[in-house]
């Protein structure tokens, strides 16, 4: 089974929920963890990963380059770039390689053939390790300024699937990035179940509604976990939305200093502070996940 953990909004507790679920389920189930937040990968930090067994460089991203000796300074490329990435600087047209999407329009419209070329660049790296807890973890790191690509996440998942087959693992738990764009779509796509993490704030509710629409595109069953549940007692928006859409709430985690403190210890909160309020709630959630989701 493939479970994706997403939220739309950043910083609401995706990695806290993922790392704790993985930790709590790892002994009874054969699990592989995938950190699909290539912009800001954090699961390795929560599992205290120090070394990687295998790394693959990902090329495939392309950026345009202009040969200044051949360029006739007509400016057509700058005019036609859909993303305004080409500018005239000190008399030369220059492509900004940290905003270029690599579409190649500039090369096509350039009247002097061979002046603008698309060059393959490294977009990032994907990595694999076996954590000290025994389960494998796949992670990725996008190089700064590179186009964010669902391909990176798809590569991670494909790698995870191969390992699952080889090691006869049962479940893949995917910790997605914030947002609703390509990385998240690649994380949600192909999952069997989505666990959506939210906190009781209007901003998180707004983003929850957006990520739920993405999950609906894929017709996946969704569940909600409310984090920092006691942050804003008067706010019932998440419950109302869950009820209206018929999304089961898996559990509610209270605000607990044990969570940031566990991050500093670089451990899942359920390991670092097993008796904390947050850990108790997370253990209940893990139990429900086992009974409601994994057994189906």
């Amino acid at each position: 089974m493939q479970i994706v953990i997403a939220s739309g909004k950043g910083g609401v507790g995706k990695s806290t929920v993922s790392s704790s679920l993985i930790y709590l389920l790892k002994d009874k189930h054969k699990i592989i963890a995938v950190d699909a937040d290539a912009d800001a990968p954090n699961l390795d930090l929560l599992f205290g990963v120090e070394t990687w067994e295998e790394k693959k460089e990902l090329t495939g991203a392309k950026v345009a380059r202009i040969n200044h000796d051949r360029c006739i300074k007509c400016g057509i490329c700058a005019e036609r770039c859909p993303y305004e990435c080409i500018k005239l600087i000190n008399g030369n047209y220059v492509v900004s390689d940290i905003t270029c999407e690599g579409c190649g329009v500039c090369a096509l419209v350039c009247p002097v053939k061979g002046t603008i070329t698309l060059e393959e660049v490294r977009s990032g790296v994907i990595k694999k390790t076996t954590t000290k807890y025994g389960f494998p973890l796949i992670s990725a790191q996008l190089d700064v300024g590179r186009p964010n690509s669902g391909k990176l996440v798809t590569e991670e998942k494909n790698w995870a699937k191969r390992i699952m087959e080889k090691q006869r693992l049962e479940h893949m738990i995917v910790d997605s990035a914030a947002g609703i764009g390509c990385q998240v779509i690649a994380s949600v796509g192909g999952a069997d179940v989505a666990i959506l993490v939210a906190e009781p704030t209007p901003a998180s509710l707004s983003d929850l509604k957006r990520i739920y629409k993405v999950v609906q595109h894929f017709r996946e069953p969704a569940y909600i976990v409310i984090n920092k549940a006691d942050l804003n007692p008067g706010f019932k928006g998440i419950h109302e939305f869950a009820e209206q859409e018929g999304i089961p709430i898996l559990g509610e985690i209270p605000y607990d200093r044990a969570i940031p403190e566990s991050m500093i210890k670089m451990k899942p909160v359920v390991e670092a502070f097993p008796d904390s309020k947050a850990s108790k709630a997370l253990k209940e959630i893990a139990k429900t996940v086992e009974e409601e989701i994994l057994k189906k």
């Binding site: 739309g8 909004k9 950043g10 910083g11 609401v12 990695s15 912009d39 800001a40 954090n42 930090l45 929560l46 392309k62 036609r80 859909p82 993303y83 600087i89 000190n90 220059v94 492509v95 900004s96 390689d97 940290i98 905003t99 270029c100 690599g102 579409c103 190649g104 329009v105 096509l108 419209v109 996008l142 700064v144 300024g145 590179r146 186009p147 964010n148 669902g150 990035a177 914030a178 947002g179 609703i180 764009g181 390509c182 998240v184 779509i185 704030t201 209007p202 901003a203 707004s206 983003d207 957006r210 629409k213 993405v214 595109h217 942050l231 804003n232 940031p260 403190e261 991050m263 500093i264």
Partner: protein, 305 residues
């Protein structure tokens, strides 16, 4: 990686009447970017004619924090090719040139579009040798908004349509709409991460304010945004939010490595959370936390003037 350094022609912000721009970013999600951005914008409004641009197009929330509803919706449409099969000569050039592999061809060369993959770049249209074989089609990608706030500055927001993958066209459209207002100062709030959509939002800034929190996760992602700021040759300042959460030493070391100034620390505060959930900016309350934002605004004003 050195090319774009020349993008920044001026080392210092200008005072020649050209538009100034600052950006609030941070790498990690949920560190408090939007809280800083809206409060800073309110504080700076007394000194600059400004516009705030929410370029976190996948999860835009500044309007909620400002307690306003989005207004003046404008669709962002992207080009998609419509094939006129009576004119198409099945040369497959459109499919070959498509970097996104959004056009597949049948064995006889008949092209088909997979619309979700199409980036709207028009490479296929440009390369098609037959006039009229590729017609103008449109796909809705998202919206931009221009909202009047009660704080005497407009908010421009970009919002990616759910299910669409590409944030870049929305970031470009929203930033363009904000710039069109010709304000003296553009304050940009970016998405989490350090991908090229974040660089697009940061582009042309004279200052990046990176919001972080003192955890290994916050530190790691701060490192990435400082690296991006260095590549773009933009001055970076750091704000440590929830500063009592953990040790600050590692952030100080990182700041030193990148010659980035730590300009403020905001302790965990129930009042800030309350203001956040109620859509009432903390800076208007006059409580001690609001002084932190005023202090930050003063530093920004000094830097820009």
């Amino acid at each position: 990686m050195h090319m774009h350094k020349i993008f920044k022609v001026l080392g210092k912000p200008n005072n020649r009447g050209e538009e100034m721009q600052i950006a609030v970013s941070g790498g990690k999600g949920g560190t408090g970017k939007s809280t800083i951005a809206i409060n800073l914008a309110i504080a700076l409004k007394e000194h600059f004619d400004l516009v705030l641009a929410d370029l976190d197009v996948e999860a835009p929330n500044d309007h909620l924090l400002l307690g306003v509803e989005l207004q003046n919706e404008s669709p962002v449409n992207s080009f998609i090719p419509h094939f006129d099969y009576s004119k198409c000569i099945r040369c497959k050039k459109c499919a070959e040139v498509c970097e996104e592999n959004a056009i597949i061809t049948m064995r006889d060369g008949t092209p088909f579009l997979m619309p979700t993959l199409c980036s709207g770049c028009r490479a296929c249209e440009i390369v098609c040798p037959v006039h009229g074989a590729i017609l103008e089609g449109q796909k809705l990608m998202g919206y931009t908004y221009e909202t009047q706030t009660p704080y005497e500055f407009p908010l421009v927001t970009g919002k990616l349509l759910e299910g669409e993958e590409r944030a870049m066209p929305i970031v470009v459209a929203a930033k363009r709409r904000a710039k069109k207002l010709n304000k003296e100062l553009l304050v940009v709030d970016t998405a989490a991460g350090t991908s090229n959509t974040v660089s697009k939002a940061l582009e042309d800034s004279q200052l990046i304010i990176a919001v972080t929190e003192p955890t290994p996760l916050g530190l790691h992602d701060l490192g990435l945004i400082l690296e991006l700021a260095k590549i773009m040759d933009i001055e970076a300042w750091i704000i440590i939010n929830r500063s009592d959460l953990g040790p600050k030493e590692p952030i100080k070391e990182l700041a030193e490595k990148y010659s980035a100034k730590i300009v403020g620390e905001i302790p965990y505060s129930e009042r800030i959370i309350k203001s956040y959930v109620e859509g009432k900016p903390i800076i208007l309350t006059g409580c001690e936390e609001s002084e932190i934002f005023r202090g930050l605004a003063k530093k920004v004003i000094k830097y820009l003037r």
